[in-house]
Symmetry: C2
């Protein structure tokens, strides 16, 4: 159990209040999680945060700091974004219980991150793009917005429960996020080259494609195959130009 | 859904920090709960509490204050105590998911309370006695103690989910806590009268009996039957003395 959960990272992006980081660290410790990644944390993440961590200081001390979400999740196989915003993300959206049930079997071979945005706006569009799948906590439509550390608690609680009841699902070593990002760059480049993508407005389509491949849970071999196709496409396109 | 959850009260006993009350109120609102009962709250439950309630002020304003847990739960049909202390409570202990699944069908006809103790010690023995059943949140053995509002969140979250998926279980109108307390008084009196109970140390045995009847989820008719038996026993004991 604990071993599997050791492969889970909680990533907090642009959190403004140190106390929320401390409270999140305590929740993590309650639920057997230990890896905390902070993207652009507030000035003194160890002041108020320490006070509210109530014994979870080790997690805060060992927290790793990053300047961007992309760096933070570069070595992660699955990046789950916590967000209430469904809309275009709907197909890759799941509730915490379903997410936990799917994530636990993967943990034997793969590092998995759950990413939370700041207290006011949640994850911004640029960061949502980096998430492979999404998790939304069910809540009252009249008052849906959870405090950050309470959202962390619900996700951590579901992961903890699922880790205890894991009957041994099917695992597979997925591609690291870095490989995926290189794939998406290649894809965007190729799609522009062949005139499929509007070079001035590539984002909307790229977002949909990221969601599509995110759902597919690609492994390294899948990525190689796709990049092979792209390379072949690039060559064909160049030949077309020359011809 | 919301209608059923309207029959749930969250009871906070001896909470010391107003901010925790506010945070708990926000969790309640997130999960469609609205009835907050405060037993011996701190001096200014509306100061810091309001700040952290973040929009859940209505819950705080409408919170009812009590001097004792017994008064607070007098009209409740089922009183669930949130505690980590298993021990002698083990037979009446359940996890939040199981508790939610059992509670939701009862809500159509019965008011149900979930009782939380203070931040440091949780529920004290005298208050545990008043609980019919118990709910324990699974957590890491290395760091099991949840912050109060996070414990409220987990329970509220499970109730909210269960209320959405309730397939319509079997309900029944249970006896109010007041009736149960009168039954227990009568029982203790009778058991002492017949020499079953040590009058100097009645608590341990009474505690076990409370747990036993708590599990039984008595309705008013059950209570009447039991009290009828006790009355008959009293008469027989008196006849024995006179004879």
């Amino acid at each position: 159990m604990t071993k599997a959960l050791g492969n889970v990272s909680i990533v907090l992006v642009d959190v403004r209040t140190p106390a929320n980081i401390g409270a999140a660290a305590r929740c993590m410790m309650n639920m057997g999680l230990s890896r905390l990644l902070l993207v652009r944390p507030p000035q003194d993440p160890h002041g108020d945060a320490g006070r509210l961590a109530a014994g979870a200081d080790t997690i805060l001390e060992q927290a790793r700091l990053f300047d961007s979400l992309r760096e933070a999740v570069a070595d992660q196989a699955l990046v789950l974004g916590a967000t209430r915003h469904a809309g275009r993300l709907r197909r890759n959206m799941q509730d915490p219980r379903a997410a936990a049930a799917r994530v636990i079997p993967l943990l034997a071979d793969n590092p998995v991150s759950v990413v939370f945005g700041n207290e006011v706006n949640g994850l911004e569009r640029a960061d949502l793009q980096l998430c492979h799948e999404f998790v939304a906590i069910p809540s009252s439509p009249a008052f849906p917005s959870l405090n950050l550390s309470h959202a962390v608690m619900v996700i951590a609680y579901e992961l903890f429960l699922a880790s205890r009841s894991d009957a041994g699902g099917i695992s597979a070593r997925l591609a690291a996020d870095e490989e995926l990002e290189r794939l998406y760059e290649h894809l965007q480049d190729t799609l522009q080259r062949i005139g499929f993508l509007d070079p001035d407005q590539p984002d909307r389509m790229m977002f949909s494609l990221r969601q599509l491949f995110g759902r597919a849970r690609l492994d390294s071999r899948d990525v190689k195959i796709l990049r092979g196709i792209l390379t072949a496409t690039d060559r064909a396109a160049n030949r077309g130009k020359q011809g």
